[in-house]
């Protein structure tokens, strides 16, 4: 959930910034609160407009600004762009002593090996289905919470509940792993003690893969619902109250208002966030899958995802480096293609929210 929101919000920012780029300079000036005045003033005076603007352009000290961004851009180069070149490892047989450049080319052998392995089907299926469940359940949960919060009149109560629901957001997955462990411990765990008190046999949770899709979904919602409902709640606050007043005068009840006004108002946001989440469906929240399952092998059949698989192969030694790099490259490419596709779809539905 965390990751999903993160990417969603990211997308929003990108939209706003790229839209700005596409527009005419004059529009940009008009758009920005502070600048609007400046623009209008100069254009009202007619003749000054262009002259003033040119002078303004000359005043900028480009080199000082470039020097400000030199170090940050270098950091992007080293930690983001150099690794992109590093994807050639996927086409090589990486040897520690030979280095990236010196290792032998093997073509698509690493990819072939991965496609033929059992892991391929397992991690693809798990990543896709679990993320799909998270997106679907997460959407319903966060919209429901936002709608319910919106109905509460007392502002202080809304604040208090929101604060409460957001608390898990501040936890690391390690701590959530501890909590899950306190409930699921095969010997002492709360669930099993409760089951035993009811006269039933305890369940060996960390050995029963079939329960884990549900456990992971609940944990993911538990941690993320507070933060993700914030976006929807903020958008609900923007609805003009006149709609509700008019509906109330017409005698509509709460359900009719929710179905007829509130939900349709949220629909564009829901669509965009969901489509964008689908664009990231091949990226799993590593912490969730690693810390909660505690990397227990007997659960892999339902909990092993691309990210946990890549991590395990890295840790298993240099010998598998090329293979896990191939998986990483596949993930990046699929992710890239999905984002491009989802952007095309978003552009058709809500052109204003398109990424680029």
């Amino acid at each position: 959930m965390d990751l999903v929101i993160y990417i969603n919000i990211q997308a929003f920012l990108i939209c706003s910034f790229l839209n700005t780029l596409q527009k005419e300079p004059s529009e940009v000036y008009a758009m920005r609160g502070g600048r609007m005045e400046f623009f209008m003033k100069t254009s009202l005076n007619g003749k000054i407009t262009t002259g003033h603007k040119n002078k303004w352009y000359k005043n900028i000290n480009n080199w000082q600004l470039y020097s400000l961004c030199a170090v940050p851009m270098l950091l992007f180069l080293v930690f983001n762009y150099l690794p992109m070149i590093g994807i050639i490892i996927a086409f090589k047989e990486y040897k520690y002593d030979l280095g990236i450049i010196g290792s032998n080319w093997v073509g698509f052998k690493n990819f072939e090996f991965f496609f033929k392995s059992d892991a391929f089907y397992r991690i693809t299926r798990n990543t896709l289905t679990l993320n799909a469940i998270f997106i679907f359940v997460g959407l319903i949960a966060s919209v429901t919470v936002a709608l319910l919060l919106f109905e509460i009149r007392k502002r202080t109560a809304v604040k208090a509940y929101q604060t409460m629901l957001i608390v898990p957001h501040y936890l690391s997955w390690v701590i959530v792993g501890y909590m899950a462990y306190a409930f699921l411990h095969p010997q002492y765990g709360f669930f099993n003690s409760a089951l035993k008190q009811l006269g039933m046999a305890g369940i060996d949770w960390y050995n029963k893969p079939k329960y884990w899709p549900a456990i992971l979904t609940v944990s993911s919602i538990w941690k993320g619902v507070g933060m993700s409902s914030v976006v929807y709640y903020a958008s609900l606050m923007g609805i003009d109250t006149e709609y509700f007043e008019a509906a109330a005068i017409d005698g509509a009840n709460k359900w009719q208002i929710t179905w007829g006004i509130t939900l349709p108002f949220l629909r564009p946001l829901m669509t965009i966030l969901t489509i964008l989440a689908i664009g990231n469906i091949f990226r799993a929240d590593f912490g969730l899958f690693y810390q909660l399952t505690r990397d227990v092998g007997s659960l892999f059949s339902t909990t092993d995802v691309v990210d946990t698989y890549v991590y395990r192969t890295i840790k298993s030694g240099v010998a598998n480096m090329s293979m896990s790099s191939a998986v990483g490259v596949l993930q990046s490419i699929v992710g890239f293609v999905l984002i491009i596709i989802t952007n095309i779809i978003v552009k058709k539905i809500e052109p204003d929210n398109a990424l680029f």
Partner: protein
Amino acid sequence: MITARKNNILSQSILHSIFIIMSAMIIIPFILVIAISFSNEKDIVAYGYHFIPKRFDVSAYLYIFKNPTSIINAYNVTIFSTVVGTTLSVILMSMLAYPISRGNLKGRGFISFYIFFTMLFSGGLVPSYILISQYLKLSDTVWVFIIPGLMNAWHVFLLRTFFAKLPESIIESALLDGASEYRIFFTMILPLSKPVLATVALFGALARWNDWFTAMLYITDDRLLTLQYLLQRILMNIQLLQQESMNVDMLGINPSDIPSETVRMAMAVVAAGPMLLVFPFFQKYFVKGLTIGSVKG
């Protein structure tokens, strides 16, 4: 009218009870962990984990505070990486965000795309891992927590969006008065942007405080563990201890002599508790960071 009002009171109280139940579901796991940490080890072995300790017992905490070296070390590393990392990162990201917020900078489109592209595509974990561990030799140094994570494309755009909204007339008049861009940035723009700086700093601080992944990948030196990774190791290590003690059990030694169950949870409380009481006070800034983009979008 009267029935309508009654209906209202009824529906409001239903809503409140729904949220009280939800809040309870949020709190319950915390209570369980805290309750276990204050339990007696023998009670746990006999009755399992419970929400109310049978006997109130602080021996787990005493055990931790008797051997505090590892947790103090972890606190030091985590505080260092959070404070230094976040401060450096906010300054550097602002230094990049400010120039591209200036509509008239030449090449602004290129720089923006240069940053934006890193959000779309990445080389994956393996190349970064090889780069950081084998070429930059940052493994087992404290700098691995700081340097690789300095830039975050999303945060740069968040800052950029805010800077762009500042009235340009003040920059213009400062330039006309002969101020340098550096001076404008450090003495005018940064002080005016405290809210967004706080938001980005808190996002960064939360991520660094909760980071275990970096340590898991790059750290083998026990003195350089972060809090969260220390916790993770304890979860795994005491497990090992337990397995061993089961074997020892066959030799006639009581496995419950190791207060493993309560110590583990007490450790989680000591490590996670303090910051968990701090972050909610800054909720405003976290929420602002989430909605700042959508307002404009």
